[in-house]
Structures are given as structure tokens and as C-alpha cells.
């Protein structure tokens, strides 16, 4: 029988173009608040480094460097990689190690440094996650995969771009209130709807950011939780899914099959339903991805995600608040840190510690995390429950 496991602490670096730091300093910045809460190195049994793309820095074997830099040089560590879902993949692996009894307390640290290369080079690196023989030679970039979904979705459901622009406006509204955000500024609907095209039908404000940053959480087995906090966040449900590698081989482009499966599995394990969720952090690498996530996670019926947008149900005081930290769009998307940052945000919201009342979600008992890698080849969903 698996032991119950809780998130007991979290830390988060400033996200942005961090020319003042390298991965090691970012990692220390994310661990410091955890250390300050009393979870010193001697309390940690092992760590996992969530680090998606070593080509950006050239640094191989990153977990050895990071563990050493923050004083965990004698504790077992490993690196996990699942593209943009690396953060939650690392958490899923760590959960298994703690639930099984292998370790009691683990640090899961996510980090990425992406701004030491140009945007074109970064786009190049990310496009190599596509099929190198059949997709990459045609220049199918990371935004292009999501634009292929957007074209199909907009055609099947006769949806104008306006809906996507409203999602970007919401993301920036909350990012502007998050001191950790990469691009903390409000944007207007007109700006979002008429920005320069990147991969039509997606424009600049439909795309997430190329970000440097780190985030960390500590998880602990149930009989050790009280040593660290009286406000634990229990891992109640985990679901993981996968989808066809080539996007043309998917049965549908209006949904991510692996995300639907992952969400269902998470609800089943938790014994909960979409209506029980008080907030969600979803993988909005592009605005269309957030819209599809509403449907894949069960917050809207297929094709009806736009109603959530039009009714502003996704705002902090709405039916299902989504990405009230700014999301990947405004807070930023340092690949390996993203899934950990989502988890950190649920912990902050549950504890009533959002930076401003204007983005604090009221009375969060259950929070949902949806983290997608690549264009859906990797998906992890987590359901968290307030433990006090």
C-alpha cells in the first residue's frame, strides 16, 4: 500500500531574461526560501532535477552541478526529461520514490536557462523535438504545431481569433500582479488580437515566453509531514498520458488525447470530478492550448471552452480560475521549471499567500495542474488537496 505524500514547501526564482544568473544561481534562488523554512540539506534524502533542454546552455549532467551548488553533493540525485512536462514528470517520479518508501523527503527542482541564444536559435532547438525525419525538415516549429491545432479548432467550431486574444488579456492581467513574472504588464484586447503574426493563426500574444527561471518543491511521506508544516498540500491524484509523436497521426487536433486520458486518470485516483476543482494551472504554452485544456480537463464540453472565456469564468473570482499567476504566457515558460512553478502556485493559493488580493482565489480546497510536453506527447495531471 502506497504511503500518502504531501507537498510541504516551495520556492520560486524571479522569471525573466536572467542575464544576471546562470542555472546554478537560479537553482539556489528557488531553494533558498525552502531552506529558510527550515528544510535544510540534512533533512533532504534525495533530489530530482527537472531540466528539459541541455542544448540551450551546453551543460550536461545538470543534476550533479545543481545538487553540488546548493549543498546536496552527497545526496542521490538524477535528472528527468519530458520536454515541457519535465516538471510534473519529475514530481511523478519523486512521488513514486516517496510513496514506495524508498525515501521520506525529496526536493524536486526545476530549472531552465533559455536566453543565452537568440529567439531563432531557441525556436530551432525546440523544433527539433518534432520528428527529425518527417516534420523538422519542413520547418514545423513549436508554435507551428499549436497553430495546426488552432487552424483546425477554429474551422471545426467556427471560432474567431478574438477568443484566443481574450485568454492572452487575462494571462497578462494576472501576470502584471505577480512579482515573479517575466512580462508583468497588462495588454489590451486590441493589442492581443492584432499583434504581429508568429505562426498564423497565432500571433505574438498567443505565444508563451522564452524564459530563464527555477522553481522547487519539497515532498514528504505522511508520517514525516508534521516535521515540516501544519499546512501540507496532499497529492490526491496523478494521471499521465501520451499522444502520437507526429501531430498528423492524431485522431483529432481539437483535443490532446494524452491530456484527456491524464485528466481522467487523475480524477479517478483522487475520487473527484472537475466540478470539485477550485482552481487550475493549465499548460498555456499558446492561447489555443489553454482553450483546449479547459475541454481536456473537463471544465467545458468539447467545443464549448470559449464559453469559459466569454463568461470570464477563468478569472480569480470565476467558476474555475485558471492561471491566475499569469501562466506560461505572462509569468513565463522556463521549460523544466514550469510544472514545478504550477505546483508552487497551487500551494501559494491554497495557503492564501497570493501576492495581491486581486489575484487571490478564495478558499481553495482542491487545485488542478495540467502540464503538457511538446505538443501532447507527454502529459501529467495532478490533483492537490488542502491538508488543514
Amino acid at each position: 500500500m502506497a504511503r500518502r505524500v504531501a507537498v510541504v514547501a516551495g520556492g520560486h526564482s524571479k522569471f525573466g531574461k536572467r542575464y544576471d544568473a546562470t542555472m546554478r544561481e537560479l537553482t539556489a534562488e528557488a531553494y533558498k526560501p525552502i531552506f529558510d523554512e527550515g528544510i535544510t540539506q540534512d533533512k533532504i534524502d534525495a533530489s530530482i532535477l527537472s531540466y528539459a533542454a541541455s542544448q540551450f546552455t551546453g551543460q550536461g549532467a545538470g543534476s550533479a552541478l545543481m545538487a553540488d551548488y546548493i549543498g546536496l553533493q552527497n545526496k542521490p540525485h538524477l535528472r528527468c526529461e519530458s520536454a515541457c512536462a519535465t516538471g510534473t514528470a519529475s514530481l511523478r517520479a519523486a512521488w513514486g520514490m516517496v510513496a514506495s518508501g524508498l525515501y521520506d523527503v525529496m526536493l524536486v527542482l526545476g530549472v531552465e536557462q533559455m536566453n543565452r541564444v537568440s529567439s531563432a536559435t531557441a525556436t530551432e532547438y525546440m523544433s527539433r523535438a518534432g520528428d527529425m525525419r518527417w516534420e523538422y525538415p519542413f520547418g514545423v516549429s513549436f508554435p507551428a504545431f499549436y497553430a495546426l491545432m488552432a487552424s483546425r479548432y477554429m474551422s471545426e467550431y467556427n471560432m474567431p481569433h478574438d477568443v484566443l486574444a481574450k485568454i492572452a488579456v487575462k494571462s497578462h492581467h494576472y501576470g502584471a500582479q505577480n512579482p515573479k513574472a517575466h512580462l508583468p504588464k497588462e495588454i489590451t484586447f486590441e493589442e492581443a488580437n492584432n499583434a504581429i503574426p508568429i505562426c498564423r493563426p497565432l500571433n505574438l500574444y498567443d505565444c508563451s515566453l522564452i524564459t530563464d527561471g527555477a522553481a522547487g518543491v519539497v515532498i514528504a511521506a505522511e508520517d514525516r509531514v508534521k516535521e515540516f508544516t501544519d499546512r501540507p498540500m496532499w497529492i490526491k491524484g496523478i494521471g499521465a498520458g501520451a499522444s502520437e509523436n507526429m501531430i498528423q497521426d492524431r485522431p483529432s487536433l481539437t483535443s490532446i488525447p494524452g491530456a484527456k486520458y491524464a485528466a481522467k486518470a487523475a480524477y479517478k485516483m483522487a475520487g473527484l470530478e472537475p466540478k470539485d476543482m477550485d482552481m487550475a494551472e493549465v499548460h498555456d504554452c499558446f492561447t489555443i492550448a489553454e482553450l483546449i485544456a479547459y475541454e481536456d480537463c473537463g471544465f467545458a464540453e468539447p467545443g464549448k471552452g470559449r464559453e469559459i472565456v466569454e463568461n470570464k469564468d477563468n478569472y480569480h473570482d470565476g467558476r474555475i480560475p485558471v492561471n491566475c499567476d499569469g501562466g506560461l504566457k505572462s509569468k513565463g515558460h522556463p521549460l523544466g521549471a514550469t510544472g514545478i512553478s504550477m505546483t508552487y502556485e497551487v500551494l501559494k493559493q491554497m495557503r492564501g499567500e497570493a501576492d495581491k488580493p486581486s489575484r487571490q482565489i478564495n478558499d481553495v480546497k482542491h487545485g488542478f495542474v495540467h502540464n503538457v510536453g511538446q505538443s501532447g506527447q507527454f502529459v501529467n495531471c495532478f490533483i492537490y488537496e488542502r491538508g488543514w
Binding site: A120, M132, P137, V140, L148, C199
Partner: protein
């Protein structure tokens, strides 16, 4: 032995040309697009794969006789990966043949905005520095 070929528009690091892929490229050079068909269960693959995804048996290259398709989805790439920067903007399309097989390639002769469902025709052309034949969609 024929000179080894690569399928590329800009650049690819997948340079390990296997005998199976070499054969695909030689057919392509003669403007024949090949799918593969499983010798055991008959499952068809486009683009071709050497091993059947279902039963892992060998799949053999077989010529695609379908030439007409419909636009399943598209993207106009305005900001390209570094190695294709000189070609932007370009249009990547997924076309669906009547058999249900799909193919990802550029549409190269558009004069107006593409629309999902529009008819496409399979075409061939020489591309890139190596002047390799590649497949493309035409409207």
C-alpha cells in the same frame, strides 16, 4: 551504388540514411511517393516506416497512387526556426487523402489564404542547395 540522398528543405541532423530511407528517396527522385505496407497485417503508413507499429513485422515500400487530398490543417510560419529563416513565411499543411492517410508538407503555390477542407494535389520539386527532389502540396 547511387549517391546517398537526404530529404531536406533547410537542414536536418537526421543524416543516418538507412537502406530503407535511401530506397524511399530514390523513388522520390523519380516523382513517386511511397507509403509502406505491413507484410504481415497489411497496415499502411504514410510517411512510411520500416517496422509495423502494430505487429513490428517488416513493412514494404509501396507507391501511393492517390494524388488528390483535402487540407486537414495548416500554419503560415512567419517566424521560422533558424535554419529556415530565409524561407519565411512558408505554409505547412497536413493533407488528408481519401484513404485517410495524411502527409505533412509545404504548400508552395498559394495566392490566397488557405482554408481547411480545400482541395490539394500532391506535387514534387527540387529544393535546397542539394537540389533534392521533395514532395509538396499544390492548390
Amino acid at each position: 551504388m547511387a549517391e546517398k540522398k537526404e530529404l531536406y528543405l533547410g537542414y536536418t541532423t537526421d543524416k543516418a540514411v538507412t537502406p530503407f530511407f535511401q530506397e524511399f528517396l530514390e523513388h522520390l527522385d523519380e516523382e513517386r511517393l511511397m507509403k509502406s505496407v505491413c507484410t504481415s497485417c497489411g497496415e499502411e503508413y504514410l510517411p512510411p516506416r520500416q517496422h509495423c507499429q502494430k505487429c513490428l513485422s517488416e513493412a514494404k515500400l509501396t507507391e501511393m497512387t492517390e494524388r488528390e487530398a483535402k487540407l486537414y490543417s495548416y500554419v503560415i510560419v512567419d517566424f521560422a526556426p533558424e535554419t529556415l529563416s530565409s524561407k519565411q513565411p512558408y505554409v505547412v499543411a497536413i493533407g488528408e487523402f481519401p484513404s485517410g492517410l495524411k502527409l505533412t508538407a509545404h504548400i508552395t503555390n498559394l495566392t490566397d489564404m488557405p482554408t481547411v477542407g480545400m482541395p490539394l494535389k500532391l506535387g514534387f520539386a527540387k529544393e535546397g542547395e542539394g537540389k533534392m527532389i521533395t514532395y509538396r502540396w499544390l492548390v
